[in-house]
């Protein structure tokens, strides 16, 4: 069987069930593809030894059709972001400071996806310690598979790039201020920042205790829902994990009849590049055509969301890194070092004020979601920029990074689930993402709406998933 580069988890699961392929064939094909092409993309930090991968794939093939079969993810090749601990496999968090760390135990999400039968191909590059950046200063650049002169965005850069390049069928990412949704949007894949507390962060290198989330990334919303179903659930080892709840189920919706979609026109449609504005407007027309009602909503404090996020992330990250930064000062990139040191310049009262405004944001989003079923925004106001556009001075780069996260940090601050789904095509055929924000634990519902839109998306051309 010839395996297309845009094969989905759902498609692979059907092929496995029908006997049209095997887990060994899937894994072998993808390992060959990574070996042939990833030196151009730079999505993996560590590719597992072939014999270890094939051992897992063979075990999956032996289970297939028996009582031991573990379901639709059994035999599916995936990869993990490298700030998520994997037992016996180097876990760097994209930093030289952890370049030799080999964890003794898997993170909870790694164990859960392994229990579901997935086959682990390796570890995916992320920006240093999952902080915002345009490159990884220690492990090299990750190029956008759709145009290698453009960034992938991050910090889950390798996860998005590997999916877009056809190197794996599913991936994990982490999202503290857009780190799943930015690269998903820039590379044309689906990324879910889940409801805070739905997926365990145990075993994940901390950026910010009150904002960090772990989520699924995939080529389709249905695939992300399959990964989510394996990843979610209470974990007593994560103090942020919430007991007794599961996500709403994923439904393969064909239309949006009766749904109320909230749109905020003051903050979330300001400063859009022309092609992003065009695609977003088209997406609203499509939603209306599918039976949804577009409702104007207000989130007045949204304009403060970046300020609030900075005032929380930097002090929390400064504390999270304090011991390691003292011990391994030279192993940190200069830019990240300064970001972490900035945490010491916030006063305790500033942190408290930020938490107060965060509460206001929560009230406003909850009020909006009492009027509508879901909130729609562009994921980012721009498509993936070229590397040359990111080479500006430090202030320019900071301004660019602020544009990346402009619409995204709100859902981190309030804890609501938010997905980025590719919806249209912008300049030079690059994808434009649509962000959908739902009520707490409506993660499956959010992915269901994304699924309905995927079938009607305005992609002028389907982005090539083969590196040029």
């Amino acid at each position: 069987m010839t395996l297309p580069a845009d094969l989905t988890i759902t498609g692979a699961a059907a092929a496995l069930a029908a006997g049209a392929t095997t887990a060994v064939e899937l894994a072998t094909t993808l390992l060959d593809r990574i070996d042939a092409l990833d030196d151009r993309i730079g999505s993996f930090i560590t590719v597992r030894p072939t014999h270890e991968v094939l051992e897992e794939a063979e075990a999956s093939d032996e289970r297939r059709g028996s009582d031991a079969d573990r379901g639709p993810l059994d035999g599916i090749p995936i990869a993990h972001k490298d700030n998520i601990a994997t037992a016996g496999i180097r876990t760097t968090a994209g930093s030289k400071a952890l370049s030799e760390w080999i964890p003794d135990a898997d993170a909870t999400v790694v164990g859960r996806l392994a229990d579901a039968g997935t086959v682990l191909l390796g570890k995916l590059k992320n920006y240093e310690f999952a902080h915002s950046a345009v490159d990884n200063v220690h492990f090299g650049r990750t190029r956008n598979p759709l145009d290698q002169n453009r960034v992938t965005g991050g910090s889950s850069s390798g996860s998005a790039a590997a999916l877009a390049a056809g190197f794996c069928l599913g991936a994990t990412g982490t999202d503290t201020g857009g780190s799943i949704r930015i690269p998903a949007s820039f590379t044309g894949v689906v990324g879910l920042k889940p409801t805070f507390g739905l997926i365990s962060r145990q075993g994940v290198v901390t950026t910010s205790w009150s904002l960090d989330t772990v989520g699924p990334m995939a080529r389709t919303a249905a695939d992300a829902a399959l990964l989510l179903s394996a990843m979610e659930g209470h974990d007593p080892l994560d103090r942020g994990s919430i007991p007794g709840v599961r996500s709403t189920p994923f439904l393969p919706l064909n239309d949006l009849a009766g749904l109320r979609i909230g749109v905020e026109h003051s903050y979330f449609t300001a400063g859009l590049d022309a092609d992003v504005e065009r695609v977003f407007t088209t997406s609203l027309d499509t939603m209306t055509g599918l039976g949804a009602e577009i409702v104007e909503i207000a989130i007045p404090a949204a304009a403060e969301s970046i300020v609030v996020e900075k005032s929380i992330v930097y002090p929390e990250a400064a504390v999270a890194h304090e011991d390691r930064l003292g011990e391994r000062f030279d192993a940190y990139g200069a830019r990240l070092r300064l970001s972490l040191l900035s945490g010491y310049y916030f006063r305790a009262v500033d942190y408290v004020r930020a938490q107060q405004v965060r509460e206001s944001l929560l009230d406003e989003v909850e009020n909006a979601l009492s009027q509508v079923d879901i909130i729609a925004t562009p994921t980012t106001p721009l498509i993936a920029p070229r590397f040359a556009e990111t080479a500006a001075d430090a202030a320019g780069a900071s301004e660019l990074l602020h544009r990346y996260i402009r619409f995204l940090v709100l859902a981190n601050l309030t804890g609501h689930p938010a997905v980025s789904v590719p919806y249209g095509t912008g300049d030079a055929g690059m994808p434009v993402g649509l962000q959908l924000i739902g009520r707490p634990f409506d993660d499956g519902f959010v992915l269901s709406v994304a699924h309905a839109l995927e079938k009607h998306r305005d992609l002028a051309t389907t982005p090539s998933t083969t590196p040029a």
Binding site: L338, L341, Q356, E359
Partner: protein, 65 residues
């Protein structure tokens, strides 16, 4: 860190870190401190600061009921 060029942090930077900063980094830290002063000013002027800061996990009470 050179105390003549570096501003004072609100929380003292641990000596294990501060002692390793060179003068260029101290200047960069000063620039960041200036940016943060802007952030903090905007924060102090932001609407909606009358509420409690609980719960730490934003939606836990709603999810638990």
């Amino acid at each position: 860190m050179n105390p003549d060029t570096a501003p004072e942090a609100q929380t003292p930077i641990p000596a294990t870190i501060a002692d390793q900063l060179n003068s260029d980094e101290a200047k960069a830290v000063a620039a960041i401190a200036k940016e943060i002063a802007h952030v903090v000013k905007r924060l102090s002027d932001a609407p909606g600061r009358s509420g409690s800061i609980l719960p730490a996990v934003p939606h836990r009470p709603a999810a638990s009921t």
